[in-house]
Amino acid sequence: MPRRLADTAAVATAAVVTVCCLALLASCLDGTAVYWFGGWVPRHGIALGVAFAVDPVGATMATLAGVLATAALTFSWRIFEAVRTLHHALMLVFLAGIVGFCLSGDLFNMFVFYELFSVAAYALTGYQTTDPGPVRGALNFAITNSVGAILVLAGIALLYGRAGALNLAQLGQSLASRPADRLVIVAFLLLMVGFFVKAAVVPFHFWLADAYALAPTVVGVLFAGVVSELGLYAVARVYWTVFSGPFEGVQGLRGILLVGAVTTALVGGVMCVLQHHLARMLAYATVSHVGLTLAGFALLGPAGTGGAVLYLVADGLVKGALFISVGIIEHHLRDTDERRLAGRGRHLPWVAGLLVLGALGLAGVPPFGTFLGKALLEEAALAAGQPWLIGLFVAVAALTSAALLRATGRVFLGLGPGGGPAAARRGPDESAVRHPHAHPTQVAPAVALLALAVAIGLWPGLTAAAEEAAARFTDRPAYAAAVLGGAAEVPAAHPPVLLAAPAGWAVLSALLGLALAWAALRPDRLPAGPRDRLARAAAPAVAALRRIHRVQIGDSVTWLVVGMAGFGTLLALVTR
């Protein structure tokens, strides 16, 4: 196929998929849209076939994937790839898998689509053969995620042995009558761990940084924007449709999930600051934000869920834009290490602007959509009696935006210790700059994604819509009624969210981020005594954290089993 035709066809297909998902979203606002494949409608409450059950949350995730895929394919328009048609076909299969995963209302069908987009992702991560980078990253990614998929399937088998059903709604009905016993607990454990691997919750995240560093930009946009989020989506979907009945009244579950969320957020945030490789930096920013979003779900209520969904959509758009920006840097400067790039980005002011805006988006500053999401999350945290979570949100936002601002300052302004000499030493490499200016088809997708993230933030009535969508998402009986035999759902009214305090927290996060970035770039301006004492005190912990993250495949799988044993033991303790 001629190159131009393949490009156009791929972008057009992704765009059409996006529009279809958007139409689906519009059509399911009034009530869950259920589609039985083969026309096999359930009989006497028993599902014979497979259904797609589309509610606003699922449709939104599918739309997000479509938008990101369209942007990524547009970005790749001008970048030469040898195996182009195969690559585009794989990208579209990747997208198809994600969309199916978001819409499906059947547990095994979700597994099939989960494997579908995973397999496409393994191949897309590993194929960049010109890069002498560590291919083992792709293998670590593939093996760890395959183990996750095996655990998911084992969980499905356990549930099937108990309930004799695979439809989410039917499973939920079948399990609801009794409190969680050992089989339900272990099935929950297996499914959650499997999805945690995809979501990159600590300690199941060790595959992520290598996969990001290795993935071509086109793929990385989807990784950064939606793949981890899909793991979280699955956690929430399966919890609310299947397990919310048997785990009702299990007080400790929230605590366990919050411990995981806080660990994930902090480990991700600190590791993000410690990175110099830009794609790895974004990888750990993702981990950190996964922790933040998981905290929203962990509140186990509609408010936290609504905030989490709104946040992860806006955050996904921002991170997609950031990954494209990193892709532009890589394409033009043939490097993504901020130390080696010091001062070399001066002729790409557009990209610097994108990175700064992206950093503000990560910090959750208005008018970015991340701000609204976080405002809802903060409200939910206060309502749930967990006000300290606000501190965590501020810390995460400050750490991740600080890392990005520091890198931007170093790459585009040449700031930072060692920046000057390094830039001078790198002088001859200016010849490695292949294209002096970023092309519009490269910059435009990133601008569009950021604009969308802002549009979400300015959309009137969006918080109320998110709360309503979350209320439906977390209403197990209503979901079951919609899927297995329809009763009308009654939307509840939601008071408007107060935005003054969240705005203050957002500004504080951004200022903290800026201050941290400045401190990293100009350590000479800090008072020497406290600075050195702090550095000495932190050194062992930092070294340990780095050492833990220097993993190979065996370590990654070992941590997975450790995490599973720990999570399972805690679960067993709190449900007894």
Partner: protein
């Protein structure tokens, strides 16, 4: 972690995880007891509703046909992935093997092996087609038949007829077979939409259970899957074969 530390950490964690697993597994019904309802309902209604005497086929290709469609696309993605990984290397580092080179490098095969191999090809192809065609009646179907068909192609290779294999199934043909197989699954599904029912709904006459021409769309879907699987597995195997053959140049270790 060093290997010794990792092994120790793993063993401790796996002991705990294993205990949890066993604890949960003992919550299952005893082995040999099936409480349903899903499978029992299907065993009762499937033959009457779908005219397929093999209920597993009815489930695979109709009741849960969309799972199988996803599965076919997993195969499709994996084959694409293997091709992308191995072809990219080939394009960069090696000339594609021309037929002479393949001829020269193919492992020498004794005439006895060659004759036995080639005699087997016919029956194996027949068996594969039989499996594909009878999937709705007896155990077997597009997937099993497709793999058997791919094995036939492999027999040709094992008999030392690599050149013949390349002539019979050049990359393009298997590429097309695989893609057409995958696409026709979706096309058959869309027939249901066109007929005004649902995606993957049956649109063909059901016929009498037990007849070869029965069970409506299950038979054509089986054929599509057979085509895709055969194409896909030949592609997978030949991509790996290419790899070994291209590298084995004269003067290198053989």
């Amino acid at each position: 972690m060093t290997p010794a530390v990792r092994r120790r950490v793993f063993l401790v964690a796996a002991a705990a995880a294993g205990a949890l697993l066993l604890w949960g597994l003992t919550g299952l019904p005893d082995y040999g007891v099936y409480n349903g309802p899903y499978g029992d309902v299907l065993n009762r209604v499937a033959v009457a509703e779908r005219s397929a005497t093999n209920v597993v086929a009815a489930v695979t290709f109709d009741y849960r046909g969309v799972d199988t469609m996803g599965e076919e696309y997993i195969l499709f993605a994996a084959v694409l992935g293997v091709a992308i990984l191995l072809r990219a290397q080939r394009d960069e580092h090696e000339e594609p093997p021309d037929e002479d080179a393949a001829d020269r490098d193919a492992p020498a095969t004794s005439n006895a092996v060659r004759i036995v191999g080639l005699t087997l090809v016919g029956p194996v192809v027949l068996f594969g087609l039989y499996l594909v065609a009878h999937g709705h009646l007896t155990p077997g179907g597009g997937f099993q038949g497709g793999v058997v068909l791919a094995t036939a192609a492999l027999l040709v290779y094992l008999s030392g007829e690599y050149v013949t294999l390349r002539r019979v199934s050049p990359e393009l043909v298997t590429d097309v077979a695989e893609s057409v197989g995958a696409a026709s699954y979706v096309a058959i599904g869309l027939l249901g939409v066109a007929a005004g029912t649902a995606f993957l709904a049956n649109v063909l006459p059901l016929g009498q259970p037990g007849q070869l021409l029965s069970a409506g769309t299950i038979l054509p879907i089986n054929a599509a899957v057979g085509l895709e699987v055969a194409g896909g597995f030949v592609l997978l195997l030949s991509e790996f074969l290419e790899q070994t053959l291209v590298i084995r140049r004269p003067g290198e270790v053989t």
